[in-house]
Point group: C2
Chain length 201, copies 2
DNA sequence: TTTTGACTGTACAAATAAAAAAGTCAGAAA
DNA sequence: TTTCTGACTTTTTTATTTGTACAGTCAAAA
């Protein structure tokens, strides 16, 4: 059984490599199988369908993401520093996994299985929790005035995500956002973050 | 010649009525003509093509919008009050002209004439100017700390627009956003506005 | 228990046909 | 001379078909 889990991990890692370059929808199960030098039915032995594999991929990525946030949380003291570190971490993951379209609703447009959407909402909630924790800590330390941490975390993340989606919308609709756009997004997010946390004091 | 301008206005108003209900792309020149009980070639006598008519419509709407902002600007003293009034005004126009998709890039998806895009950028710049003026006034009154008003106005408007586009993205992709979503957008924009301006103090 | 070659049905994309709408023009009405 | 129209052509959009690539299955082998 532990062998099976190893194999599953291997398949997930193989899938991620393809997904990063070509996106989820343009990667076929055959390609993933070929990369790993196994047959397609082998994949289906470990994952009942493509959605399950995608779900495995997404769960792994978000796991890594939340681990990174946890490290940021431990290493930073003030909310301002911490949120800045979060912005960097989010940006790193956003850049790396851009092709999967993990921000903004469903992954890679069409892939609309129900369990996927549910997991996405869970991830979003967990992300809000993380940010709310930072706000709560800041309230306890009297770094900011008391507010409803969850509500404000949601507002904060919405405005941050909004900047991303706006920049992408505006940018010349290439497959991949340019270095310049990426830099602009990061800068604006930092700027907004600073003003936002100051506004909570 | 003044008669001609009157007629042009009449056509624009007729077009707006259709556009509001059915959107720009799903409104035909024939329908607009029939509404006004004239023939299609009459329309083309006053506007060389559909894009020109759409441009006329957009120019009129933004004219009204900027007039409303001007009134807000005069009637409010603090930047906080003024920006709150701007949020309300923007929301009113957004709601009324939602079907034209005037926020977020090009109007009604496809309509991509060059002059339209140019006008849009001009409107966006003028909107930023308006907001920058408010910030400048607030700086002069020592209501907020000195910053680059244009840069901050851009950031402010991006985050505000981002909230809108995010809410619409999330919401059940109906043709029209629900009352609930609309209310949520307005609330978040007010909340963010308040925090933002406080963060600039 | 794990893996495979060979298969099927479906869903998406390319191609084509049909419909609708934009845009034009010669000439009539004011 | 300016404003308007019915009848027309051209372009764009939408609907329908066809072809193909891919997800998913199965009997059998390792």
């Amino acid at each position: 059984m532990v062998e099976t889990d190893k194999k599953r991990e291997l398949i997930i890692e193989g899938a991620i490599k393809r997904f990063i370059h070509y996106g989820i929808n343009k990667t076929t199960m055959n390609e993933i199988a070929d990369d790993l030098s196994v047959s397609k039915p082998s994949l289906y032995y470990y994952f009942p369908d493509k959605s399950s594999l995608v779900l495995g991929v997404i769960l792994k990525i978000f796991n890594d993401y939340f681990e990174a946030l946890e490290k940021d949380k431990i290493s930073k003291n003030t909310a301002e520093e911490c949120l800045a570190a979060f912005v960097e971490t989010r940006h790193r993951f956003f850049q790396k996994y851009y092709m999967l379209h993990l921000s903004g609703g469903s992954p890679d447009a069409s892939l609309n299985s129900d369990s996927l959407r549910t997991s996405f909402l869970e991830m979003k909630a967990k992300n809000e929790d993380f940010h709310a924790q930072i706000l709560q800590r800041a309230i306890d330390n009297a770094e900011i005035s008391p507010v409803d941490p969850h509500k404000i975390a949601e507002l904060y993340l919405d405005s941050q995500a909004g900047i991303t989606s706006l920049c992408l919308l505006h940018g010349n609709k290439e497959l991949f956002p340019s270095k310049k756009e990426m830099k602009s997004i990061l800068e604006k997010q930092h700027q907004l973050s600073k003003i936002f946390i100051k506004g909570l004091k």
